[in-house]
């Protein structure tokens, strides 16, 4: 799963997987418009629905945060 997320991030911006800082937004690697592309890609790839309440900067700040979000939603779907 993690690899798949990293592939999607690399497709969006090849510098994202290597980024180890605190905020992809502050580093100029991601913005709110690209976040829409990212959400669409993640939804299509994992067949999940990312609710608007999860689309906040904290959940997209780093690649780890994005992976955690996908894991959380996949976990939520399993328990349903």
């Amino acid at each position: 799963m993690e690899e798949k997320v990293l592939d999607i991030l690399a497709e969006l911006n090849e510098d994202i997987p290597a980024y180890d800082g605190d905020s992809l937004f502050d580093a100029g690697l991601l913005d709110s418009l690209q976040a829409v592309d990212l959400v669409s890609e993640l939804e299509d790839a994992f067949d999940i629905d990312i609710d608007a309440k999860y689309v906040v900067e904290e959940n997209f700040k780093t690649k780890e945060a994005i992976i955690s979000l996908v894991k959380m939603i996949l976990g939520e779907n399993k328990t349903k």
Binding site: D31, L33, V36, S40, D49, A52, K53
Partner: protein
């Protein structure tokens, strides 16, 4: 009470002194009393205060109801919808019908900022990102807190309210840096903005009578005027809250360094932009119907088409509403459409634009290219300012005609320019002020460090000489009216 008055300076000193004398747990009470005094003493319409009290109480109860019905989704949705519609309705009535039509309809100063703060509070409680306040008086302080009520910044309750309720700590750095920032704000407002306003008011008062060169000068000065007025206000209130040990959101980050329209709006009126992003753009783009449309587009046309449709719909709504937020008039609707159109074009054709720069061998890292991008963004901003300053569409035609056919460039040099309320000395002072602002912002942009930190590292005598010069500049070079009061801030009427 105007922020640019001796009365306000005395008010700030008294509020700050009492704030630090009172025990920390009661400091919020002192801020509430100060805010009530500021609102009632400053704006003579007492009905506005009562309206504000009623709207705050309504929002307070609505948020409690939303929180208490956590297990009943339909009920929560109903509470949220009814309360948001009521607040939007109130805002729309104040913007369209105006004061005096109905007994209950008064326009509290800062109505647009207050409405947006209240809506974000309700939405955050609904989304469980925030907890509803349990103490109405504390909540009323959040709404009424005087440094932010007239012009923002549009704060978020979950981040700002705890700082306000807990109270700040006294520190030399906060008092010193806060006072310096206030002084810098007064400098921007009194030395530059109010001086530029004399010229721009005269030129835009009768555009048909002025040459193209004067209209272009007036437009450029109007851009600097608005920036110095609005960001000057922010410096004053953010400096004051820093003195109280409370940090409030920044609203500007050197916008004239922006290289695109989208970047400009991430640097100009930041709290309004993030509000629209979080409470309009994201909910629209992430709504089931828009997502469904995007999915259909990605499947049946192309990935790019599907994603673009989602963004276009959300951006169009955001920019229409941004225009309407500034004012329900053709000027602001045109202004919103202009910015929305430019941003949508840059999003939709991003790939083509990147490809074109590669084909044309443009070195996008070169300083000259970046300078060109900054100049282009500034010119777009100037054009937008012109749209908001004219009184009718016919005046836009007159400006275009005079710029193209009656430019008369010599009027800038032959003394004609000094016939609009500003003499040669005033122009020199204004340009000196702009130069100082440019130097300060260049240091911030390039070094990532504020000028106040550099000053703090200097020896005490040098520091005090700098402070004395700065205070003298504001006192002696500022533009004042009767009783040392001055022109109102432009953004307080939104």
């Amino acid at each position: 009470m105007s922020l640019v008055s001796l009365e306000f300076v005395v008010f700030v000193i008294l509020t700050t002194t009492v704030y630090y004398i009172v025990p920390k747990r009661f400091r919020w009470v002192e801020l509430l009393i100060s805010s009530v005094y500021f609102y009632c003493a400053g704006w003579s319409n007492k009905k506005a205060f009562v309206t504000l009290l009623a709207v705050s109480l309504f929002t307070f109860i609505a948020a409690r109801q939303i929180e208490n019905s956590r297990e009943e989704l339909r009920k929560r949705k109903l509470y949220l919808s009814v309360s948001v519609v009521a607040i939007v309705g109130w805002l729309m009535l104040t913007k369209t019908v105006g004061e005096g039509k109905f007994y209950f309809l008064v326009v509290p100063i800062g109505v647009s900022y207050i409405s947006f703060s209240l809506i974000s509070y309700l939405a955050d409680v609904y989304w469980e990102k925030d907890i509803a306040d349990k103490n109405f008086l504390k909540f009323f302080l959040y709404v009424l807190f005087f440094p932010k009520i007239t012009q923002g910044p549009i704060t978020r309750h979950k981040d700002f309210a705890p700082l306000l309720y807990d109270g700040g700590d006294l520190s030399y750095e906060n008092i010193c840096f806060g006072a310096q920032r206030m002084l810098y704000g007064y400098f921007k407002k009194l030395v530059v903005a109010d001086r530029a306003a004399v010229f721009t008011d005269a030129v835009f008062g009768d555009v048909a009578a002025h040459s193209g060169s004067l209209l272009v000068t007036g437009t450029v000065l109007a851009a600097f005027e608005l920036y110095c007025d609005f960001s000057g206000y922010m410096d004053i209130v953010l400096g004051f809250t820093q003195m109280l040990g409370i940090s409030m959101d920044e609203n500007f980050r050197r916008p004239f360094y922006s290289k695109s329209a989208a970047e400009f709006w991430r640097r100009w009126h930041i709290t309004l932009g993030t509000w629209f992003k979080d409470y309009v753009y994201t909910p629209i783009v992430m709504s089931h119907s828009v997502k469904k449309l995007g999915k259909w587009g990605r499947k049946n046309v192309s990935k790019r088409f599907g994603n673009s449709v989602m963004k276009i719909l959300a951006l169009a709504a955001v920019w229409f509403l941004t225009g309407a937020w500034h004012g329900i008039s053709i000027n602001y609707i045109m202004w919103g459409v202009m910015w929305g159109f430019l941003i949508i074009i840059s999003v939709v054709f991003e790939e083509e634009i990147t490809r074109a720069t590669k084909i044309l061998h443009v070195n996008t890292e070169a300083a000259s290219w970046k300078l060109y991008q900054m100049a282009r963004t500034f010119l777009i901003f100037c054009f937008g300012i012109m749209l908001t300053r004219v009184h009718s569409i016919h005046e836009i035609k007159e400006i275009a005609y005079n710029v193209l056919k009656q430019f008369r460039i010599w009027e800038i040099c032959d003394g004609t320019i000094y016939g609009y309320g500003l003499d040669k000395g005033d122009f020199k002072v204004m340009l000196f002020g702009l130069l100082i602002i440019f130097v300060v912002e260049s240091i911030q942009e390039k070094k990532g460090k504020g000028v106040r930190q550099y000053i703090a590292e200097l020896n005490a005598p040098v520091r005090w000489i700098i402070y004395a010069i700065a205070v003298s500049i504001v006192i002696f070079l500022g533009i004042y009216g009767e009783g040392y009061s001055t022109a109102d801030f432009a953004y307080q009427y939104f």
